[in-house]
């Protein structure tokens, strides 16, 4: 069975390709897959009739105790045969339904084949969760097939409506299945049905499961999605919305009925909804002019009938129900396929525009008449057999409550009268010669159908005819299922064409006469229907509900999303103040004592930093504000020294310097002052929030410190660093060894940030290395661009002489190499003394800054003729490689090793592998700085050189 499902999957995947190769003939090949499944299902008939079953189990998610549990018993075989048989014929039909080069055929073929597989899986699944998966798969494929390519509003709406309704029901069903599985203690359908358990959990679970079945099978009040879904191409209507998908609900009810029919609520819901649906569908069907809609409402009506029969929970009605399921699958798909042929041939489905087609399309009319006879319940068709069995069963009391049995019987007799009436309306509408229309309308047939096109409807129609007389041979199969149900009437009936003169025969005659009478009086019926206005409509209700949700969404969005970032931030901060702030003031344990400072030096620095912060708020000049913010940073560096954190101080000072440089590089393009101030009221509000947040954070920090009772987690770090990390600098070892994962994540952030900068400045891809002085781009008019190669700091020659600074050039010449050596020293020494990859990389970056400032953008290229992107990637690779290597060697990721030995010349050398990680960090940091310099420095220079004539408003002053 698994093989069959996989074959469907493979066929679906191959379908687009096959359609590309063979065009619409590919459907013939695809039809082989369901046809083979059909053959396989029939081959199992012997096993199943002997009371056996076919099982197939494949482990799926063992930890969740989920397995692909497939099981073929009589009920599954009945549905599987229907699904695969009709599926094969519909695919055959598709080979002529589509035009040879129609667009989207490949997608359609794939979806339809995949649907056939899902449907087969649904009826075979024994695990309730597997059933649910297939259930939702059919929903999704139905959505795709109804919506088509999505080119039409009506199609999209119908598709989403069907999706919303059936998935809503599906979700309810999932909850119900979980509850039912809990109540019965098993997730296998076979075990659940055998012993469903009891209690409110089971009752409510059953109601939810029924909700899923009712939405899927388009029962009142969810029936409206099915007619709307007729937007889909006719093969889809014939297969999904007549033979297969809508039967899923019927299948589930039939599957559960043996164990669940006596659960409180089951019979009232199933029988009530079923009969109501049958009547409503039949009534609405009589109002339709579109043949397809007529059939769609007819399907709704028939589904109500089927639901009533299979849900009643008695052997005789279940027998009738299963026979009707087969009959309905055969005749309704025939009729839909016939409408498709008709539509194809004439270009319309409006029965007011069709006349006299009966003798012009004789084969089509034959198929349709055969199917219609079965639908109306004429002997000797299968539809007659099923209906007869239903009438007999109810007459003799196939429902525990006698009064209910009479009510249901009255309902389905009335429903059958309507069925006969709309059947007559269909035949008359499609094929009859009508007064008031020309003898032959439309006059010309656009596409007379070919033999292959007619095969599927004819085969299905004839099957309905043949099955009637042969019904006694279907009986064993149906009985194998229905005998699991109790007999409620006096004696169990078997399926047969002729039971003798019985009340049921009279009822059948009554329905035929009533239906034909209704059809004869169609003008008066139509007039009466028009007079009886129905104010409420389920469809209207659905759209009103959706509109209500839309309105609520607009209301909520409109209230909360005001479009202003400062407002959002303000709201967030006020929430911080109100919730944690109140807790801080009322509940927090306040520190027992305070001391002024660790060292008076801290007080001095704090005053300077605070003064700088106040100035940063007040200053409107961009550059000055950036510098005072930098001062707070340098102040922090000093505080770090006092606190005992030389690594931090080093990094802070280096970063602060590079940040300032980056600021200057960008701010030179912007006006000197920040313009536009908020209104005073807003400024006061901002100030109040800012002060409150400041106080909150300060106090929170102090309280957190005061509340610390446990020993710091870092207590053993010094020993770990020395013994395991083989380094004396605890902070560095923490970075590259103890918390290397953390650092690895952080350097990844740096790479992302550098890439972001580059992509904002260069819009089209990251170029390679920075431009060098002798590259072609450097050649041009003006000052000499081509620098002599052998001169140190040669690219300064490309600068405008007025912008050159002799002192800077000399200092750069003196310092550059020394600074680079220092950076490498910091990198290597960092394991034991202040320094490390971060500090070393920043120092190297500063050396590059120096070169750039002294020599301009070409000098940057001369100093670092590498692509920063490569540098970043290489760094990340080395750092990650360190981790991966230890993994390959069988250690934990980022586990470090230590080598030591004696080398000639160098003497004793010791090496921790964490050094390689630090080298990676170093490269990433150098790459980051180089990328920033190249993007915000060199590229901005180039843009200015190339587009000097940017319009500037007269009042703008560009800081330089």
């Amino acid at each position: 069975m698994t093989v069959l499902l996989l074959a469907h999957l493979a066929a679906a995947l191959a379908a687009p390709l096959l359609v590309r190769w063979w065009g619409r003939q590919a459907f013939l090949a695809l039809a082989l897959v369901p046809a083979a499944s059909f053959g396989w299902a029939l081959a199992q008939l012997g096993t199943v009739l002997d009371g056996g079953e076919v099982r197939d189990t494949v482990p799926w998610v063992p930890t969740l105790e989920l397995a692909v549990e497939l099981r073929l018993d009589a009920l599954a075989l009945t549905f599987a045969a229907l699904v695969t048989g009709v599926g094969a014929l519909v695919l055959l039909y598709c080979a002529r339904y589509f035009e040879p080069d129609e667009e989207g055929t490949g997608r359609f073929a794939a979806e339809l084949t995949a649907f056939a597989g899902s449907m087969l899986g649904l009826v075979l699944a024994d695990d309730v969760f597997l059933l649910y998966v297939f259930w939702e798969l059919t929903t999704v494929f139905s959505f795709l097939l109804i919506g088509g390519a999505g080119g039409q509003v009506a199609g999209r709406r119908a598709a989403s409506q069907a999706l919303v309704l059936t998935t809503a029901g599906g979700l309810a069903m999932l909850a119900g299945l979980i509850m039912v599985a809990q109540a019965s203690g098993s997730t296998l359908l076979s075990e659940i049905v055998a012993d469903p358990g009891s209690g409110p959990l089971l009752t409510w679970g059953t109601v939810l499961v029924l909700l899923g079945a009712l939405t899927k099978s388009a029962m009142v009040p969810f029936h409206f999605w099915l007619p709307a879904a007729m937007q889909a191409p006719t093969p889809v209507s014939a297969y999904l919305h007549a033979a297969a998908m809508v039967k899923a609900g019927i299948y589930l009810v039939a599957r559960l009925a043996p164990g669940f029919a006596d659960v409180p609520g089951w019979r009232p819901i199933v029988l009530g909804v079923g009969v109501a649906t049958m009547l409503l569908g039949g009534y609405r069907s009589l109002r339709q002019y579109d043949l397809k809609l007529l059939l769609a409402f007819g399907t709704v009506s028939q589904l109500g009938f089927l639901m009533t029969l299979v849900g009643a929970g008695s052997q005789e009605l279940a027998t009738a129900g299963l026979a009707m399921v087969l009959a309905h699958g055969l005749f309704k798909s025939t009729l839909f396929l016939s409408v498709g042929v008709l539509d194809h041939a004439t270009g319309t489905r409006d029965l007011r525009e069709l006349s006299g087609l009966g003798h012009r399309l004789p084969w089509l009319a034959t198929a349709a008449v055969l199917a219609s006879a079965s639908m109306a319940g004429l002997p000797p068709f299968l539809g007659f057999v099923g209906k007869e069995a239903a009438f007999t069963g109810l007459w003799e009391g196939g429902v525990p409550d006698r009064a209910a049995a009479w009510t249901v019987l009255a309902g389905i007799v009335l429903g059958s009268v309507l069925t006969v009436a709309y059947t007559a309306r269909f035949l008359w509408g499609a094929f009859a010669r009508k007064p008031g229309l020309p003898e032959a309308a439309p006059a010309e047939l656009e596409h007379p159908p070919g033999p292959l096109f007619l095969t599927a409807p004819l085969v299905l129609g004839v099957a309905g005819l043949v099955a009637g007389p042969l019904s006694s041979s279907i009986d064993p199969l149906v009985a194998a299922y229905s005998e699991t149900l109790p007999v409620l009437a006096e004696e169990a009936e078997h399926l047969a064409l002729w039971h003798g003169l019985q009340p049921a025969l009279a009822l059948s005659a009554l329905t035929l006469l009533g239906g034909l009478g209704l059809h004869a009086a169609r003008d008066r019926v139509s007039a009466a229907q028009r007079r009886v206005a129905v104010p409420a409509s389920a469809n209207r209700g659905y759209w009103n509900l959706l509109q209500g949700v839309d309105r609520l969404a607009v209301l909520v969005t409109g209230t909360t999303q005001r479009g202003s970032l400062p407002t959002y931030l303000g709201v967030i901060l006020v929430v911080v103040l109100v919730l944690p702030g109140v807790v801080l003031l009322t509940r927090a344990p306040w520190p027992e004592g305070w001391r002024a400072w660790d060292s008076p030096l801290q007080g001095l620095i704090a005053v300077a930093v605070l003064a700088a912060a106040v100035m940063a708020v007040r200053i409107r000049s961009r550059l000055s504000a950036a510098i005072v913010v930098g001062i707070t940073g340098y102040g922090l560096g000093a505080l770090f020294v006092v606190h005992g954190a030389p690594d931090l101080a080093l990094t802070q000072v280096l970063v602060e310097t590079i940040t300032l440089v980056a600021f200057v590089l960008v701010l030179r393009k912007l006006p000197k002052d920040v313009g536009g101030r908020d209104r005073p009221r807003v400024r006061w509000a901002r100030g109040a929030v800012a002060l409150a947040v400041g106080c909150f954070m300060g106090l929170a920090g102090a309280v957190a410190l005061g509340a610390r009772t446990a020993d710091p987690v870092s207590e053993p770090f010094p020993e770990l660093a020395d013994v395991i990390g083989h380094g004396y600098n605890v902070v560095n070892v923490t970075l590259v060894d103890i918390r290397a994962w953390d650092t690895f994540g952080e350097i990844s952030v740096l790479v992302a940030a550098a890439t972001g900068v580059a992509s904002l400045v260069y819009l089209r891809g990251r170029p390679g290395a920075p431009e060098r002085a002798d590259s072609d781009a450097g050649a041009g008019a003006g000052p000499p661009r081509r620098a002599p190669r052998r001169e140190w700091l040669a690219a300064t020659a490309t600068l405008d002489p007025r912008r050159r600074s002799v002192i800077l050039e000399v200092v750069t010449r003196l310092l550059f190499h020394a600074v680079l050596v220092l950076s490498v020293y910091l990198l290597f020494a960092g394991h034991n003394q202040p320094g490390g990859g971060f500090a070393g990389g920043l120092v190297a970056g500063l050396a590059l800054v120096l070169r750039y400032l002294a020599g301009g953008r070409y000098e940057l290229g001369e100093a670092a003729p590498v692509d920063p992107g490569r540098l970043l990637g290489l760094g990340l690779l080395i750092a990650g490689g360190t981790g991966a290597t230890s993994l390959v060697l069988g250690e934990a990721v980022f586990e470090s090793a230590y080598l030591s030995g004696t080398l000639p010349v160098l003497g004793e050398v010791s090496l921790a592998t964490a050094l390689f990680f630090d080298i990676g960090v170093y490269l990433v940091v150098v790459g980051l700085v180089l990328d920033v310099l190249r993007s915000l420095g060199a590229e901005l220079d180039r843009q200015e050189d190339e587009e000097p004539a940017v319009e500037r408003a007269p009042e703008e002053v560009i800081a330089r």
Binding site: Y289, T348, A662, M697, L699, V757, V925
Partner: protein
Amino acid sequence: MTPTVVFPVLVAGLYAAGVYLLLDRSLTRVLLGFLLLGNATNLLLLSTSRAGEPPIVGTAEPAEMADPLPQALVLTAIVITFGVSAFLLAVIHRSWRLVRREVVETDEEDRRVAARSPRQGDALDPDDLDPGDLSREERAVGRAVGGPGDDVEHRFGERFPDAASDDVDLPPTRGAAR
């Protein structure tokens, strides 16, 4: 542990200045505010740990060392702050090049939604329209008339005045469509 006065005061001052600048509309001032907030946060992290001698084995006893863990956290945070600042600078630059402004703009889409009254919540989305469904004038304006009169039922009633009104209306058939 006994907290000092100097750290909370400094943290409070930096946070206050940072938040004030962060709430500005000018991106430059937002960036400055971000830097101040970064400094304040680093200080906050460090202030919750013990001060002491530099955490280098051999130069001090472990008991006298400053706590190394917050230092390691803050160290990477400092470098990341630089990366993010560079990114924000690039954003400022791009904003300036594109629109000659560097302010946090009001989100126009949000304003439009806020201006829509709830009654209009069901107005048709552009998604709900096919160009073919619009009349010539509507197509010119590029919008459809929403509201209850525009549903399929209404259109069905217009097309077939004598038909019993119904929920659904199927599109023209395959033959007519081509």
